[in-house]
């Protein structure tokens, strides 16, 4: 029991960066000075399966509880599908990146677009991030 209680803060305090996807667009340095611009949106979420497993380990001292096992199975069956990182509870958080990127560049000419899908992972929770870095041609 004590070792699980010790393990919990360690897991919570470990913030790991995760990179899932990066795409780099054409880079045009021939048309004038470049100004770096960036849009970053994120959504906090909880890894429900890990949380349930941890709860199970702490409450039942590692012997396993049938109810929590059943909950984990229900969770897996009810939320099936391909995933990148931890699933979030709101899929609209990245809907306005285009508008935000466009608003940062008055000329409208943007080059060197880097689309990054990454996350800050805290074991049972994570911040799922969509980041677009680019250069505005002035």
């Amino acid at each position: 029991m004590r070792k699980y209680l010790l393990l919990t803060p360690i897991l919570l305090l470990t913030a790991c960066a995760r990179m899932d996807h990066i795409q780099v667009g054409d880079i045009d340095q021939s048309q004038g000075k470049l100004k770096p611009i960036s849009v970053k949106v994120s959504e906090n979420t909880v890894n429900v399966d890990t949380t349930l497993a941890l709860t199970d380990a702490v409450l039942s001292n590692g012997s396993g509880s049938d109810e929590i096992e059943a909950l984990r199975t229900i969770w897996a069956l009810m939320n099936m599908g391909p995933r990148t990182g931890n699933p979030v509870f709101n899929d609209a958080y990245a809907q306005n990146v285009l508008n935000q990127l466009h608003a940062q560049c008055q000329s409208g000419k943007i080059t060197a677009i880097r689309s990054v899908r990454e996350a800050n992972d805290y074991a049972i929770a994570s911040g799922e991030i969509v980041r677009i870095d680019a250069d505005c041609i002035l």
């Binding site: 939320n79 990245a94 677009i113």
Partner: protein, 108 residues
């Protein structure tokens, strides 16, 4: 007896509450910002969204992606630039919805 009833209630609530409440954004891509939009020209944001229901992974095609593209193009008589594409999945019971959201700037 009480414990069993409680467990059943908890699990039943879980079945009702946990169904299809998560999503996952796989990628957001933006491209086509290589044109200056003149100050005196009108432009508007256009967007199109389509989805595909997949049961247990059986999907025969990816036509929903083409439909989103066609829908976006149909909304713009002028030049379509600065297109962003978001690919995500809404999870559900033994099935899921793949979603495509396309946005762009239409210069008229």
């Amino acid at each position: 007896m009480i414990k069993n009833t409680f467990s059943t209630l908890v699990l039943l609530s879980a079945v009702l509450l946990l169904n299809g409440c998560t999503s996952s954004i796989h990628m957001v891509n933006t491209d086509g910002f290589d044109q200056v939009i003149p100050a005196d020209v009108d432009y508007k944001y256009v967007e199109a969204s389509t989805k595909q229901h997949v049961i247990l992974g059986f999907a025969a095609n990816t036509n929903y992606v083409d439909e989103a593209r066609q829908s976006l193009i149909a909304q713009c008589d002028g030049e379509l630039t600065a297109v962003s594409t978001q690919y995500s999945t809404n999870h559900s019971f033994l099935s899921w919805y793949n979603k495509i959201l396309m946005k762009g700037v239409c210069i008229e």
